[in-house]
């Protein structure tokens, strides 16, 4: 939130697009600088196949984990630190 100090990535939330054999999960984020100013925004999408008979939520969870891993690395890419 504005005013909070320290570089960090903050998630806004999650999108899920459902298909028969594939789902897609998008996690949107904001990046703040050390003064708490918003410096960047974006969204990361990850697609995952849904196996025959597999509950879609299991594929959603796999895609969600991958997207979150990428978001964890965003701060390093933007600010040179983790």
């Amino acid at each position: 939130m504005r005013g909070e100090k320290g570089r960090r990535v903050r998630e806004w939330g999650e999108y899920v697009a459902y298909g028969d054999t594939m789902i897609k999960v998008g996690i949107s984020y904001r990046i703040f600088d050390e003064n708490g100013n918003l410096t960047s925004t974006g969204i990361i999408w990850e697609a995952e196949n849904v196996g025959l008979g597999e509950p879609a939520e299991e594929a959603v969870e796999r895609a969600r984990r991958r997207a979150r891993e990428k978001i964890k690395r965003l701060l390093e890419r933007h600010h040179g630190e983790g």
């Binding site: 806004w12 999650e14 899920v16 697009a17 028969d20």
Partner: protein
């Protein structure tokens, strides 16, 4: 310097105060400050003109509750350094859904968003009969669930979406059907694209930015539609979640859905 005693009676300020020079008012309070201005059946006017307003506030645990009712708020903030301190608009995001089938009598989620404050700005898509043709216009409903996964806020059939554009699609389809039945020339924006089965592409006029049926595929053998395109600009605000679901009210045929949604996220929750 004047001092107001604790138990002073009510004072009424009757005269204007005009000062040449400057005024410094230092107020140091150990405790809390409460300012109540209760103007009954009249208006509170505050004008600041010909002045530099310099307000510095360091506030923690802030809670500001401003309710403006039956009024117009016109707020302009200039930031000379260009810093993005006010995000009055939304951050645009999107979602494109893979092909999804909807079984007869079922409602499925096509797209969902969960997070903080946001806006579902627009959806558009294509619906196709996955088996035999059926009445897509009447049997299929677009349902939007806002901050509540149990009761849809928007629940529209495709025919009702066509109403938002003056029902242009339905009547062009009817005109085509009538022309073909009477061996007349097909109406404008209608073209046969398949002979066996005989199918016609119908493209109604749509200039309404809010909603429209954009195209229909008419299967003349069954006299039903096999394909339909639409868009719907909702600008629907949500606090933490929105879901777009499709309900297939036909009890014997499967529907295929593809859709794109444009969202907006408020910068500050």
């Amino acid at each position: 310097m004047s001092t107001i005693p604790y138990d002073s009676p009510d004072y009424t300020l009757l005269s204007d105060v005009n000062v040449v020079g400057s005024i410094a008012i230092d107020v140091n309070v150990v405790g809390s400050v409460t300012i109540n201005v209760n103007v009954v059946n009249d208006r509170l006017n505050v004008y600041i003109t010909n002045a530099f307003l310099d307000v510095k506030a360091e506030i923690t645990n802030t809670s500001i509750d401003i309710r403006v009712i039956d009024s117009t708020v016109d707020l302009t903030i200039y930031t000379p350094e260009g810093r993005w301190i006010v995000a009055s608009d939304l951050l645009a995001t999107y979602a494109v859904t893979p092909y999804r089938t909807v079984s007869p009598g079922k409602e499925v989620t096509i797209l969902s968003a969960t997070g903080f404050r946001g806006r579902l700005r627009q959806i558009g898509g294509e619906l196709v009969t996955a088996g035999s043709p059926f009445s897509i216009m009447g049997d299929v409903r677009v349902r939007i669930y806002i901050d509540n996964p149990y009761v849809p806020r928007i629940d529209l059939s495709l025919d009702e979406i066509d109403f938002l554009n003056g029902r242009a699609a339905y009547w062009l389809w009817t005109a085509l059907d009538n022309a073909l039945a009477n061996n007349l020339s097909p109406p404008f924006n209608c073209a046969k694209y398949s002979t066996s089965p005989e199918r016609w592409l119908i493209e109604p006029f749509f200039s309404n930015p809010t909603a429209a049926i954009t195209m229909l595929v008419y299967d003349r053998g069954s006299r039903l539609l096999t394909r339909l395109g639409f868009y719907l600009r909702l600008e629907a605000e949500f606090m933490n979640s929105v879901e777009v679901r499709i309900y297939n009210g036909n009890t014997s045929n499967t529907l295929g859905v593809m859709m794109t949604g444009i969202m907006g996220e408020y910068v500050w929750p």
